[in-house]
Amino acid sequence: MVGGRSALENANPLIYRRSGERPVTAREEDDELPDAIDDREIFDLIRSINDPEHPLTLEELNVVEQVRVKVNDAESTVSVEFTPTIPHCSMATLIGLSIKVKLLRSLPDRFKLDVHITPGTHASEHAVNKQLADKERVAAALENSHLLEVVNQCLTARS
């Protein structure tokens, strides 16, 4: 755990149901027809990210929800709001960073990413948002091998 913290901040979080695999439609199996990138597809990218302190996914903790994901394929923009489980969660930046890195690795270059905290759900919302929006700070954070290790753990597929 980060910083050798002894106790969990939110030891008994409410657990939500996972939405399951997206069913494959006949259209998706048709070689010719193009499928636009939609909200659900973006949500599927981030819903299985592991929480840094619980053996649960962000979806199960309701940190990310499909309604808080917005994508515009034509204009190449993605906006994701995430909701920390408690208002003073110290993991908020780390969670935001994981979402951001996952999207950077999974989306074409053309997309402009905006990852921020759901308004009014975190004590230091503004500061966290600012850090996440700052390209250089994100890059610098990923240079830190300790931080990169935690982010990678969050992004490792659980078997």
Binding site: R17, V24, E28, E29, D31, P34, D35, I37, E41, D44, L45, K102, R105, S106, L107, P108, D109, R110, S145, H146, L148, E149, V150, V151, N152, Q153, L155, T156, A157
Partner: protein
């Protein structure tokens, strides 16, 4: 001195055969018996006792009397003597001639003179045996002792520690109670002297020769404690105390004991303790983490409620059941309404345990709970919460099912029928599959409750409802055939098509649903007899009608097929279906095939829709499924009609057999060979086919000469299907030789080369399946054709036909001779030839060999491949550059498991693999792109050091498929790229 064993050996036969009387023996032993040294005295008595133990049945009444008096007096003797004295008494206690009064006097003497618990284990056991013996033979006399006997026994067993003795002692207590001995004022003492062992805490020593288990003691003690209601006032507080303890085993034992004693207790015994019992049970269920304890708690609550419902009330006592249930309701009901639903399940389980005890408890609880659950269902909106509530509701419905018949006016459910049904329907229509599943279960239970008018339950457009109907139909065949089938029939045959495209579509989909529903409910023979005529009637109507006839006929055939599958397991239904459907379909087909129906019409070919390939193909599985499960006798009966129909045009067995002209199946109407194939290739192997050689020749001729590919292929399949089942021997060899000659001639040149190839493929398959020696020769012919510029590609495609399971002929379902592992055998025999052929082939036909190989590899189980593939690896790598899509796909799917399971071998080729996979990610075919990305993903299981030099390149290359136009491709790209990012990075 003579040893004891020796004296016994000499003496006892003497007494047994009457040479000596016992008195003589006693006199002879006199010196010993009266010796002042207790040891000598002891030995004397021991000898006497041993003799008695062997000869007690020969003793006279008088002798017994004297011996008893003697032994009783010895009880006061030195403690060394006592064990032998007890042995003697045990021998005497088994005598049948014991005078009245002696038993009582022996027991009195023992109770008075012997301090049992200071004896050794074996001697204590002797005392118990004496008591047991007397109890079984002198019950009346012992009862004369009154409560003194009970008291005496209590003193005897007080402090017993040995499990062997305890088992006997517990049995004695049980007999005391069961045989109604006078317990007098000693009930509590008797309880104390046994209950002190509760809960049993005993672990048998590791090498215990006596085989007494903890469980034996527990059950034996439980039988004592629960043997009489007289113990209730002492037992119940004890159980409550142990239930509140920390020890898991004590809780379990207490709960099981509580459940057991509810079987004999009445309201009177329980009254005082109900509140504390309830609060302990509730606490355990709400708090425990152990499923075992929860189960036992629920069982105990069930038993308590059952006990209370059973009690006969005296006029002045209040009904405890009502107050007990109302306290349960009071404590559990509100948990069902809590928004966080935390204690919902424990509460529901408690309520259901109580409700399941009797009809009375069920009514009392459901009256309060069912309306609440229905209200909660509508209040919650998330499907997971709804599911929880519906599951609870389902639990109560199942209880009603278990409790059985309910007076109609009493049933709470009846009054709530409408809201319950609407809740179940809303669940069936919910997008959440889990909720739907619970809904279906609920529907099934509802349907089985006699009080429900369940025919009103089915909305016409729900697949789930159809499933449920199918599962309910065998339970209530009368209702279905009486109500549902006529309703569907009416709908089908009404044919009220409105005007306009939309109403036409509505009508069409309604008809489809009716057809599906008719098939779905045909799960019982009596219903099948109703539905099959309706379906056939509809088929005839559609054939005569116009517009989209083919599509509608296919739909009817699909329904008939489903019905056929559903009656396969039932011999009677199967024969009915076969007898009804097969002649009817054949008759319709023959009628449609008659040339020149003289009827002026504006439509093209009225009534000919039946002959379209699509419709004939849909009829094949119907006839096949109706035939495969026939018994050999019935199949033989049927085959004697069908084969002459096709060979001689013998139409007399068909239902409407007045056709305008005669039937020439191998002449003008040869398309119908498809129906012949469906029938004759599905017969069990031991059914003889009349005129088989003639039939085979006709089929052979048709397959090689017909210009219509459908007919030629079908004839070839039919030929192959028959050849596969044909018994080996000269006849088979002849017909095969004929076929080979015919094929060779046609293959060499002429207009029917393709037909000959098709026949070759099917015959080869038939022979490969049964390991026929000729199969290798035919396979070689086929391999040779791969080099043919005209037929090569088709021959390569043909390898997939050889390896794949064919749906209509030559599969296990239609009794074909299929050897296990024929694919592996084909692989071993032919792959080296394919590889050789590939290397020797010209550039224009090389791909044919790769494709043939791909088909063979595709159909082998992957685990088998993994061991064989490394030898083919260089060929596979070459195949990656082949431009054929099938070859690419099959090669990728072969390499995928190898990457995962043989990473060391694959690492040697990492450079080629990376390059080829990345190239294929931009293939025009989606399936190839997906397979290539999966392989790129699987590459990450190679050793990291091998991969790291490629990391940057792969990540850059995989950026492109991230923006693929197909979502399924992007998904694989994301997975692969994510994994490559993690390579060699901390935290992986």
């Amino acid at each position: 001195m003579i040893s004891l064993a020796h004296s016994l050996y000499v003496l006892s036969p003497g007494v047994k055969d009457g040479r000596w009387t016992v008195l003589q023996l006693v006199e002879a032993l006199g010196f010993c018996l009266e010796n002042t040294d207790p040891r000598t005295r002891g030995r004397g008595i021991q000898l006497l006792s041993q003799v008695l133990l062997q000869c007690y049945s020969l003793l006279q009444e008088k002798e017994v009397l004297h011996l008893v008096v003697f032994y009783e007096s010895r009880l006061q003797d030195h403690h060394l003597v006592i064990p032998s004295v007890l042995q003697g008494l045990r021998a005497l206690s088994m005598c049948k001639v014991l005078s009245p009064g002696l038993a009582v006097s022996v027991l009195k003497a023992i109770f008075q003179e012997v301090h049992v618990q200071s004896l050794m284990q074996l001697d204590r056991h002797t005392v118990y045996s004496i008591i047991t013996n007397f109890m079984s033979t002198r019950e009346e006399e012992l009862k004369g002792l009154g409560a003194n006997f009970t008291f005496g026994f209590i003193q005897v067993m007080d402090g017993e520690k040995d499990p062997r003795n305890l088992l006997v002692a517990f049995q004695i207590v049980r007999d005391l109670i069961a045989k109604d001995y006078d317990l007098g004022p000693f009930v509590e003492e008797l309880f104390e002297v046994t209950s002190c062992y509760f809960p049993v805490d005993f672990t048998p020593p590791p090498n215990d020769p006596h085989g007494i288990q903890r469980e034996d003691l527990i059950l034996s003690l439980r039988a004592v404690l629960t043997s009489t209601p007289q113990f209730a006032e002492f037992l119940l507080p004890l159980l409550i105390e142990k239930l509140d303890s920390e020890l898991q085993s004590a809780k379990l034992d207490s709960l099981q004991t509580l459940t057991a004693c509810c079987a004999i207790y009445r309201q009177k015994e329980l009254q005082e303790f109900l509140p504390s019992l309830w609060s302990s049970l509730r606490r355990e269920v709400f708090q425990t983490a152990s499923e075992k304890i929860e189960t036992e708690c629920l069982a105990a609550l069930h038993a308590l409620s059952a006990c209370l419902s059973r009690s006969v009330l005296s006029s002045d006592s209040e009904d405890l059941l009502d107050s007990f249930l109302s306290s349960i309701l009071q404590d559990c009901r509100h948990h069902l309404c809590e928004p966080d639903m935390k204690l919902v399940w424990p509460s529901a389980k408690l309520l259901q345990a109580a409700a399941g005890a009797s009809l009375r408890t069920y009514h009392c609880i459901t009256r309060s709970i069912l309306p609440l659950l229905l209200e909660q269902y509508t209040k919650h909106t998330q499907s997971s919460q709804r599911r929880t509530i519906l599951e609870m509701l389902l639990g109560f419905l199942e209880l009603q099912q278990k409790l059985g018949h309910v007076e109609e006016d009493e049933s709470t459910l009846l009054s709530l029928q409408a809201p319950v049904c609407s809740v179940v329907f809303s669940a069936l229509l919910d997008p959440s599959v889990q909720l739907q599943l619970v809904g279906i279960k609920a529907l099934t239970v509802l349907g089985s409750l006699p009080c429900m008018a369940f025919c009103t339950l089915f909305p016409p457009d729900s697949e789930a409802a159809m499933e449920a109907a199918g599962s309910l139909a065998p339970i209530y065949p009368k209702v279905f055939s009486g109500r549902m089938v006529p309703r569907l029939e009416e709908e089908l045959l009404s044919g009220r098509a409105g005007k306009g495209v939309e109403s036409y579509h509505n009508h069409h989909s309604l008809q489809q649903r009716c057809l599906q529903a008719l098939a779905a409910v045909s799960t019982h023979t009596s219903i099948v007899r109703e539905t099959v005529p309706v379906l056939l009637q509809h088929l005839q109507k559609v054939q005569k009608g116009n517009g989209a006839a083919a599509r509608n006929m296919v739909a009817v055939c699909q329904s008939l097929h489903r019905v056929a599958l559903q009656c396969q397991q039932d011999a009677e239904g199967c024969w009915y279906f076969h007898q009804t459907v097969v002649p009817c379909l054949l008759a319709m087909a023959v009628e449609a095939a008659m040339p020149g129906v003289p009827e002026p019409s504006t439509h093209t070919l009225p009534g000919k829709a039946l002959l379209e390939e699509e419709v004939l193909a849909a009829m094949i599985p119907v006839i096949s499924a109706a035939t495969t499960h026939l018994s050999p006798e019935l199949a033989a009966q049927s085959v004697s009609h069908v084969v002459p129909l096709f060979l001689d045009g013998e139409v007399s067995f068909l239902p409407q057999n007045s056709f305008p002209s005669s039937f020439h199946p191998f002449g003008a109407q040869r398309r119908l060979v498809a129906l012949l194939m469906a029938f004759v290739c599905s017969l069990p192997r031991d059914v003889a086919i009349p005129q088989q050689e003639w039939l085979l020749r006709e089929l052979l001729a048709l397959s090689c000469s017909c210009n219509c590919p459908f007919t030629a292929t079908t004839a070839a399949k039919c030929f192959a299907g028959l050849v596969n089942k044909h018994p080996a021997g000269q006849q088979l060899d002849e017909i095969l030789q004929l076929a080979v000659n015919r094929m060779e001639a046609s293959l060499a040149e002429g207009p029917h080369r393709m037909q000959a190839l098709t026949l070759l493929l099917w015959v080869t398959k038939a022979l490969v399946l049964r390991y026929h020696p000729l199969s290798s020769c035919l396979t070689d012919k086929l391999l040779g054709l791969l080099g043919d510029t005209e037929l090569g590609p088709a021959a390569a495609e043909g390898f997939s036909l050889l390896m794949a399971e064919s749906p209509d002929v030559l599969n296990k379902g239609c009794h074909a001779d299929v050897r296990i592992m024929f694919r592996q055998r084909f692989f071993t025999d032919n792959v080296p030839k394919l590889v050789q052929g590939f290397h020797g082939a010209g550039p224009d036909v090389k791909a044919n060999y790769l494709k043939g190989l791909s088909h063979v590899l595709n159909h082998l189980p992957k685990p088998v491949l993994v061991t064989e593939l490394p030898t083919l690896l260089s060929l596979l790598l070459e195949a990656l550059s082949c431009s054929d899509r099938v070859v690419q796909l099959s090669t990728l799917s072969c390499l995928h498991p190898l990457l995962l399971e043989a990473p060391q071998i694959m690492s040697l080729h990492v450079d080629t693999l990376v390059t080829k996979f990345l190239n294929l990610t931009s293939s025009p075919t989606m399936a190839v792109r997906i397979a290539a990305l999966r392989c790129a993903h699987a590459l990450t299981s190679l050793p990291t050091t091998v991969l790291l030099p490629y990391k940057g390149r792969v990540i850059r290359a995989l950026a492109k498929p991230l923006d693929d136009k197909k979502r399924l491709v992007r998904k694989e790209a994301v997975a692969a790229r994510g994994e490559w990012f993690l390579l060699g990075s901390p935290g992986r």
